[in-house]
Symmetry: C2
Subunit: 303 residues, 2 copies
């Protein structure tokens, strides 16, 4: 990528300069948010846990009844082409598949000519001793906006319908917090607007169960696997906001942030040990996560 030249995105099979990367105003992705997407992280030129993302994308399209007819290899190829065209090894990647333009209005038609978009942004490398891709420990605030019931909006489908999360983030303007703590319709803890939530209380690592309106995050799964490999007990359940407020450690996970420690919950400091912001379990899991990225994508070689 030349210095100063725009990024190039992949739109419907073509690489185009970002300012020319557009979709029709009649594309259902624009008109209705009728689109599936994945946010991925590329480390050393390779996307992290592609098969997990591809599998979740397929689940989302199944929920949407969106039969796009593209193979995982085709989709992966478009991501790889976009990274190569921008000479990017360490990057943020967003892959979207929409139902395209169709005749009529709201009714989705079975015959789909999908719109496929790949957006990339440079993002510093992960792995051992890397700088995190977030602004430091998060301030988390419980919002009045609740997660929708899965009977209305399936939480395991990752779509361009993001109003629920936007409304939650809007509430944070008043408090200055970074991320929302969103509750399910019964008032139990679900997740953030763009992150899964974990907390620890001295006996185990806890995270809201996927039975509730919770996205099955790829980083969430990676953290659970990592903890279990270390013999750390992991419990998935339904928790009250108080359980999070009283926890010794709290952290958020998503593909961009990886593991982001939480400094405060509803204005209360998270510091069960009376010490610093980041507890020992958060530190351990962050290091193990970095090591996993380092070993798998950089072969221990700092570039």
């Amino acid at each position: 990528m030349d210095e100063g030249s725009p990024l190039r995105y992949h739109v419907d099979g073509d690489l185009v300069p970002a300012p020319e990367a557009t979709v029709s105003v009649e594309d259902r992705g624009f008109a209705y948010g009728d689109a599936a997407f994945e946010t991925l992280r590329a480390y050393g030129g390779n996307v992290f846990r592609w098969s997990d993302h591809a599998s979740r994308l397929a689940d989302t399209c199944e929920t949407l009844g969106l039969d796009h007819g593209l193979t995982d290899a085709d989709l992966k190829g478009r991501i790889d082409e976009t990274l190569a065209a921008n000479d990017l090894a360490d990057a943020y990647v967003k892959l979207s598949i929409t139902r395209g333009v169709q005749p009529g209005t709201l009714d989705p038609q079975p015959a789909v000519d999908p719109t496929v978009v790949v957006i990339v942004k440079p993002l510093p490398r992960g792995g051992v001793d890397s700088e995190p891709a977030h602004d430091g420990p998060a301030a988390v605030q419980t919002t009045k906006v609740r997660k929708a019931s899965s009977r209305a909006i399936p939480a395991d489908a990752k779509t361009h319908n993001y109003l629920n999360g936007i409304l939650a983030r809007l509430e944070l303007r008043v408090t200055g917090a970074d991320e929302a703590l969103m509750l399910d319709p019964d008032g139990r803890v679900a997740e953030g607007a763009t992150a899964n939530l974990f907390f620890a209380d001295g006996t185990s690592l806890k995270t809201p169960s996927l039975d509730g309106p919770v996205l099955p995050g790829v980083t969430r799964r990676t953290v659970i696997e990592t903890a279990e490999e270390e013999g750390i007990p992991v419990e998935e359940g339904r928790y009250t906001p108080d359980a999070v407020r009283e926890a010794d450690e709290v952290f958020l996970t998503n593909s961009t942030w990886e593991i982001r420690p939480v400094a405060t919950v509803d204005g209360l400091a998270v510091d069960g040990d009376g010490g610093g912001v980041e507890g020992p379990l958060t530190t351990l899991l962050s290091r193990l996560f970095d090591r996993r990225v380092e070993d798998r994508y950089y072969d221990g070689d700092r570039s």
Copy 2:
């Protein structure tokens, strides 16, 4: 409009041929469905009840925290220009305002450079003796997909987040029904995927109250006003699906369909009087609606 030439849409202040009417893939309307919209009907070159639509659009933008800085007159002007450019007097009109392209990801920024889009389609004129803009009496089917609670997605905000309605319409593929009968989280009747619902049981005209997750439809309001002017009792309340299934008459309303009679609910014929599909109250209100359009927009003169 020349025969065979494409329609022209209004995008960000410019009239452009429909195939060139696009938005950035980074526009928040595309990325998150972060946009407000109105569907309107133009009769004889004038949009029906503009001030009601403008007022609801303002409410939606307020809910979204979207300060677009445009006046109602500016927005109305863009609609009028689009109708004129296409030489359309009787038309479907969709006006959308998105939060535009912003730095960062999900967090909405206060400074907004909005994207404003006006789409138009020819739609036969309304008024007395006009052909309706729907495919005849509707088959309505209760869906498993429920309306989201207003604590999650405010039902009075008309946004590009339409997944809830799409999922409901997808269920209809199996049954062949035209419109969904969507229930609120408690199992009471709310509305269709794109229409408000009315029914009559011999004593009054009934429609789900705006206390539930129900869009404050402009046609809904017009029907209520029309009925009240005729001395027909109107009750807004919370109703079970059985109340609709057992009603003497059922109809749907939206800006495009105006008043659309319902022939069946969950496969059961709506024919309280044992006669045809459309009951006397539906017929009366349809005629009064047509007369209102005729008098106001065509001055009684058939073109």
